[in-house]
């Protein structure tokens, strides 16, 4: 992969922050956008903007065509059997909430169990906790080893006849640990349970094949993979999506709303995937996300992952030169991708992030929306996190480590 050529596509990388060249290492939070994505969004508004579906005028037909072709492009990217299995949502959080509310409220009851891991992002914990308070089911939390890897024995031992769904992140947003979700899906299905995969940190960085993983639901966000904010995807197996009720009501998601004085209101839901897309959707978001997918496909997902793994290995080796820098997570690089959690002895995580910011380096500090992992497993008050993507370079890592070493001397 020609990183310098890639960097030319990202206008923001030319700017200075606090009189220093921007070094963007907060890619696990959101990624920067290439010209191709920005132009696709501008082109939509400049030339094709209209509401989708139902209208017969030219602009609406063009907008609908762009919107549905985007769905097809993204469906191919994750190897869904058909585009109808992809529901456009705001992001991973909304996708998981959709499953928790639509499937969870209609399918779970007292005595049932939902299995999650302690490494989950809050968005794969809180929706289940909310619904459990309403429906009275139990949530079981599987352990994580002290190096941040999943305790597979514990996870698999927690399955029983009461388990209705297992919810697991494909890649941890804190440690970058890659989980064998295919194996967990197999065990889930052997136990008669469904499998939900939080793929927010995997789809942007590696080949994800929903059929190969045999995931029942899989969620990801556009903005973490070069696309715009406010667009994401819930993949669901067609037979499951057909069974579960809609998440929200409104236009687009119905075929008919018939009213009679005698019978009241009678509603027929729309076909998939529109049954789950109430109201005017984020049309330009879908168009931008499809363009992002095309960009990543042109690079090749194997190349993307290989670049990030090489950067991660290099960064960790450089960081370990300084005994004040404590890198968390597994030492085995094959088990993780481009996310590095760390602390600098003697400085709070927020201090480190502010000092980096002063030098134009953007990293994240805090719990990274994974408080149980920090407190129960890593035993940390908070951590800093550097996360890489296609446009990051070894030279940026060198500068970053130089700054960390300065912080270590405080």
């Amino acid at each position: 992969m020609d990183v310098q050529a890639v960097r030319q596509d990202f206008p923001i990388l030319n700017r200075q922050v606090n009189n220093n060249p921007l070094i963007y290492f907060d890619n696990a939070a959101t990624t920067q956008k290439p010209c191709q994505v920005i132009d696709a969004i501008s082109d939509f508004y400049e030339n094709h903007n209209a509401n989708v579906h139902r209208a017969v005028h030219t602009l609406s037909l063009e907008a609908t065509d762009l919107y549905e072709k985007s769905r097809e492009e993204i469906a191919k990217f994750v190897n869904a059997k058909q585009p109808a299995e992809l529901v456009f949502v705001r992001g991973t959080t909304e996708a998981i909430n959709l499953v928790a509310y639509s499937w969870g409220l209609s399918s779970l009851s007292k005595g049932d169990e939902v299995l999650v891991s302690l490494m989950e992002h809050h968005s794969n914990i809180v929706p289940w906790e909310i619904i459990s308070k309403i429906k009275g089911f139990t949530i079981k939390y599987a352990n994580v080893n002290s190096d941040g890897t999943l305790d597979y024995d514990d996870f698999e031992s927690k399955f029983c006849s009461k388990t209705k769904i297992a919810c697991l992140s494909h890649v941890s947003n804190v440690t970058g640990v890659i989980n064998d979700v295919k194996q967990i899906a197999k065990v889930a299905h052997e136990n008669g349970a469904l499998m939900l995969v939080d793929a927010a940190q995997s789809v942007p960085h590696m080949t994800v094949d929903v059929q190969d993983l045999d995931a029942d639901f899989l969620a990801f966000s556009g903005h973490k993979m070069l696309g715009p904010t406010g667009i994401g995807v819930l993949y669901g197996k067609k037979e499951l999506l057909e069974k579960i009720p809609p998440f929200q009501g409104g236009g687009e998601m119905i075929k008919e709303v018939e009213f009679s004085q005698n019978k009241g209101c009678s509603i027929n839901w729309n076909d998939l995937p529109w049954k789950f897309e109430a109201g005017t959707p984020n049309i330009e978001g879908a168009v931008g996300l499809a363009e992002a997918v095309k960009y990543l496909e042109a690079l090749g997902m194997d190349e993307v992952l290989s670049h990030e793994k090489a950067l991660t290995k290099y960064a960790i080796e450089r960081m370990q030169e300084c005994n004040k820098i404590m890198v968390h997570g597994p030492c085995d690089f094959s088990k993780k991708c481009g996310i590095i959690p760390f602390n600098v002895k003697g400085s709070s995580s927020h201090d480190v992030a502010l000092i980096c910011d002063n030098y134009g380096i953007m990293i994240r500090s805090g719990y990274h929306c994974a408080q149980p992992l920090h407190q129960q497993v890593l035993k940390l008050q908070s951590s800093d996190r550097a996360s890489f993507y296609i446009y990051n370079t070894r030279e940026e890592i060198d500068r970053f480590v130089e700054v960390l070493k300065e912080i270590g001397q405080l």
Binding site: H350, L354, H374, E406
Partner: protein
Amino acid sequence: MATVEDYVSRIEGTCGEEKDVIVVFKYEKKDEAISQILKKAKLKNTIAGIIFELTFQDTSFRLYSSGKAIFRSIKNKQELNNLLANLLL
């Protein structure tokens, strides 16, 4: 008459067990704010003239030339407001 709000753009509590408070100064007033604070607070350490370790009224904090400051062990909003008023006004 000048107020703290004239200088401060945003105040954010951090997540994590370290309950630090980050004060972000308004971009157009940051240089003035930094200059005022450096006049009043006691300088303990500085790195390249862009990061300042300071104490003021028994509170230690760091000030950054980017226009941000991180305060530790602040009990409540009123205490922070009083501190900022004494530093800036």
